[in-house]
């Protein structure tokens, strides 16, 4: 995967500090699984967190705090042989071949873990039609601030021109799209601020599948999609 577009430095720092919404965190962790460059940057920001921890004020612990902790650990250690090791999950959600070579090999775990158990490939996802040529699937078990959904866009179809009330990020999983910013392929992230309007168009060669996380509903700029917005809930 030749990733050209990454989350902004501020987004990566917010991931490291733990202040992103869960929707954004999911998207960033999914991207980081396929992007060693961003993993490295996040380690850098975590180092800053460690440095901030070292340079900030401290609060003295209670008088017998260490003894108390030691006693509890002592008890645990006595039972240590019953601690079981976490087994790696064998779950695999296939993405499928891309005719232009733009596809993840399978869904990274952060994302795969949130899909229903019976989904073994992207074809098993119970897509819902949003507009002609546009389907989506909203992920559950995400805290209320923000939404995260998978989108499936037919070849050559454009998502209506829209801006954002808040932060929106898109991660390409398969296929590609083009917008005012450039061309996005598998693994790429479009990290958009509230003041950007854009109109992505799926590549004509094949359908485009992406993960979209938002902190606030999208706002569409033209009349028709605006009227449809309440129905689609996006």
């Amino acid at each position: 995967m030749n990733i050209k577009h990454h989350p902004t430095d501020q987004t990566l720092m917010d991931y490291a500090s733990g202040s992103l919404s869960q929707a954004m965190e999911l998207l960033v962790a999914t991207h980081m699984t396929v992007c060693p460059h961003c993993r490295d940057k996040v380690t850098g920001y975590e180092t800053m967190g460690g440095a901030a921890l070292e340079t900030t004020d401290s609060m003295s612990m209670g008088d017998h705090s260490l003894d108390h902790v030691m006693a509890m650990l002592e008890r645990e250690t006595a039972n240590e042989n019953i601690v079981t090791q976490e087994l790696p999950s064998l779950r695999r959600v296939a993405v499928g071949e891309s005719i232009t070579g733009s596809a993840m090999s399978a869904l990274p775990r952060p994302l795969a873990d949130l899909l229903p158990d019976d989904v073994m490939s992207l074809d098993d996802i119970p897509w819902k039609t949003l507009a002609p040529g546009v389907k989506h699937f909203q992920l559950k078990s995400i805290e209320s601030k923000g939404t995260v959904r998978l989108m499936k866009i037919a070849p050559g179809v454009s998502i209506p021109d829209h801006g954002h009330h808040g932060h929106e990020m898109t991660l390409l999983i398969k296929g590609s799209y083009i917008d005012e910013i450039g061309r996005f392929r598998a693994g790429d992230v479009a990290d958009l601020d509230d003041d950007v309007d854009h109109q992505p168009i799926a590549d004509t060669a094949e359908e485009c599948i992406c993960l979209i996380a938002t902190d606030a509903p999208m706002k569409f700029n033209r009349l028709l999609p605006k009227l449809l917005q309440p129905f689609f809930g996006i």
């Binding site: 965190e25 992007c35 260490l66």
Partner: protein
């Protein structure tokens, strides 16, 4: 240092009675390495003395961290204890070539904080994920001395101008979005972003000095 103790008082319990200006953190790579060695000793030989040293150094800092995220002193104390217990339990997962001790303990504190205050897990990359892509050019990674790196970042942090330091601390210690930071400090959002950008540039200078 105390410029951003801006959290509004929440009741009679918020007095930071236990606060002392202890800043005896690892001042040089030798001390940072000692912290890393202590964690390794805990992992390999369940070394209680090493754990006591780690506890003395990190528990009061983790307690202050938890307190700033809205715990009362009792909750902060209890969460700092829990974080240190995780240090004991997870010590075998610590890899000194990947992170300095302070970095690793920061992530433990952060994850515990999200777990407790937001009641969910921090979503992370799984290193055993078959879809994980690793850098084809591991050169840069291997030669980095993580302890030295942590010390340089810490030094760069200490030298940040107050206005930049405030936004960095609010980002790491108060769960603030950029717009919330702007509101809190009563400055435009653009100013928050530009200060952060400047601060990150300087801190990253510390990261790049050790390859």
């Amino acid at each position: 240092m105390n410029t951003i103790l801006a959290r509004p008082p929440k009741g009679p319990e918020t007095k930071m009675s236990g606060t002392t200006p202890q800043r005896t953190g690892p001042a040089d790579p030798v001390e940072a390495k000692r912290c890393a060695d202590w964690i390794v000793s805990v992992a390999t030989s369940r070394d209680r003395e090493a754990f006591a040293q780690l506890f003395a150094h990190f528990a009061p800092r983790v307690k202050a961290y938890m307190f700033r995220f809205g715990g009362n002193p009792e909750t902060a104390e209890e969460m700092a204890q829990e974080a240190m217990m995780q240090v004991w339990r997870k010590a075998h997962l610590f890899d000194p070539s990947k992170a300095a001790a302070s970095t690793w303990i920061f992530t433990i504190a952060r994850n515990l904080r999200i777990d407790r205050f937001r009641q969910r897990k921090h979503i992370e990359v799984d290193d055993s994920d078959p879809t994980l892509i690793v850098d084809e050019d591991p050169l840069a990674d291997d030669v980095v001395n993580r302890d030295q790196e942590a010390v340089l970042v810490k030094a760069a942090m200490a030298e940040l101008p107050a206005d930049q330091k405030v936004v960095v601390e609010l980002s790491f210690f108060e769960d603030c979005s950029h717009s919330e930071i702007a509101e809190r400090l009563d400055i435009p959002l653009g100013t928050v972003k530009s200060r952060l950008r400047l601060a990150l540039g300087k801190l990253r200078g510390g990261l790049e000095g050790v390859a």
